[in-house]
Structures are given as C-alpha cells and as structure tokens.
Amino acid sequence: MTVGEKQHAAGTETPPDVLDGPFSTRQLLRIDEALRLADRTTGLVFSVFVGGLDEPIREHAERLHRQLAEPDRSVLIAISPNQRQLEIVTGRYARKRVPDTYAKIAALSMVASFGGGDLAGGIIQGLDQLSRYAGKG
C-alpha cells in the first residue's frame, strides 16, 4: 500500500494522523530534533519515510526522493517495517558528501536497531551517523 492510497480528509478535530503512526509523542520529538540538527549542521536536507514501499522497492524509494524540493541535496531514509527493508537514497550532490560506503555503514547500524524492534532509535542513530559523515556544509 502506498501513501497515495491513504487519502482521507485531514481531520481538523481529530488528533493528528501522525499519532496513528509507528511512534509515540516522545519519539516523534526526538526524531524531529535529530532531523533539525542533521539539516542544520550539514546543510543537506534529510528526510525520513516510514511506511510500505511498492516493488521494486529501490525504485519506489527513488521516486519518493525525487518528490523532494531539492533531490540533489537531499538524503532520504525510507523504512518499511513490514517488508523489513531499509533504503537510503542520496542525491547527486549529497552523494559526494556521504559516499555510498558510509551510507552502507549507517544502514548497518540502523538495521541492527530495527532488528531489535527499535525503530525510532535506529532512525536517530542513522541520522546522527550520516550527518557526521557529511560534515559541516
């Protein structure tokens, strides 16, 4: 199932949809903080998608990456918990800052957390590692 199929009216009175997501409020705050820190220190645009990915998974992740405003400077982390699949997509410029080998190392440590059932922890750790590899922009 893709995001596109989840088209229900954005509730105004109902609690925000994000609370139906996989994270608690405290985890959301931590992820938000990690994202902002990563963006600010590197100058790249980090983005995290958690949800189902269609086959072929890599292509779907790249399609999501292209929907960002500046794909070249963006790093997308796409996670599909049910398919147990992680994809890190780096844009053309972002790839120079975060080489594929480093992305792979970050992926390894994220996968280690996910395998233990800790989605939020893995995301935060991955963001931290990727932004450290990218250095100051």
């Binding site: 596109g4 949800g51 189902g52 918990p81």
Partner: protein
C-alpha cells in the same frame, strides 16, 4: 470470633487485595506504555505511513501543499506520482540498501 468474622478476615480481605491489584495491572496495560503499538520484527505492524522533513517547505508538490514536520505524508495524487515517474531521472543518486 464467629465463623462469618473469620471468613471475612481470612478470605474476604485477601480477595479484596487481589482484586485491587489485578484491577491496577489491567488499567496500567490499557493506558500508557503503548505496548500494543510496539513494533516486533516479523509480526505485522499496522500504522499510518509517515514522512518526516526537517524543513516542511522542502517538499516539491505540484499543489504547493507543504508537509508539516511529523505530519502524515500528503496523499499523493496519481498525477503527482506519474510526474515523478516521468521526470527525467536525476541520475547519479546513490545510497545503500539493507534488510533485517
């Protein structure tokens, strides 16, 4: 102490205590903790897909709708998805994949 008194003290009071503790445990598991919403690898996990962006204005959407931090990813119209698919691939994207 009559028989009823004995029963009340040695059966009634322990039963009351057991009931109170059982009630507390049940109430605790219903409320916080989010035990039901926990992700366990290998078990199906139902949730609303989410897409996080540090700066919400960074999402290029034809409708111009921004995605607020932590908000659910906007329902992408099929047109948007088609556009994204048709757009010349930026090429040179890199990254990594992994499974767990």
């Amino acid at each position: 102490m009559s028989v009823t008194d004995t029963l009340l003290v040695f059966v009634g009071i322990p039963a009351a205590i057991v009931l109170v503790i059982a009630g507390l445990v049940y109430a605790g598991s219903q409320g916080g903790g989010g035990g039901a919403k926990r992700y366990r690898p290998g078990r199906p996990f139902n949730f609303t897909p989410v897409w996080f962006l540090g700066r919400p204005e960074e999402l290029a959407d034809s409708g111009g709708t921004a995605l607020s931090v932590g908000a659910q990813a906007p329902a992408l119209t099929s047109r948007t998805q088609e556009q994204a698919g048709v757009e010349a691939p930026t090429g040179g994207t890199g990254g990594a994949s992994d499974r767990w």
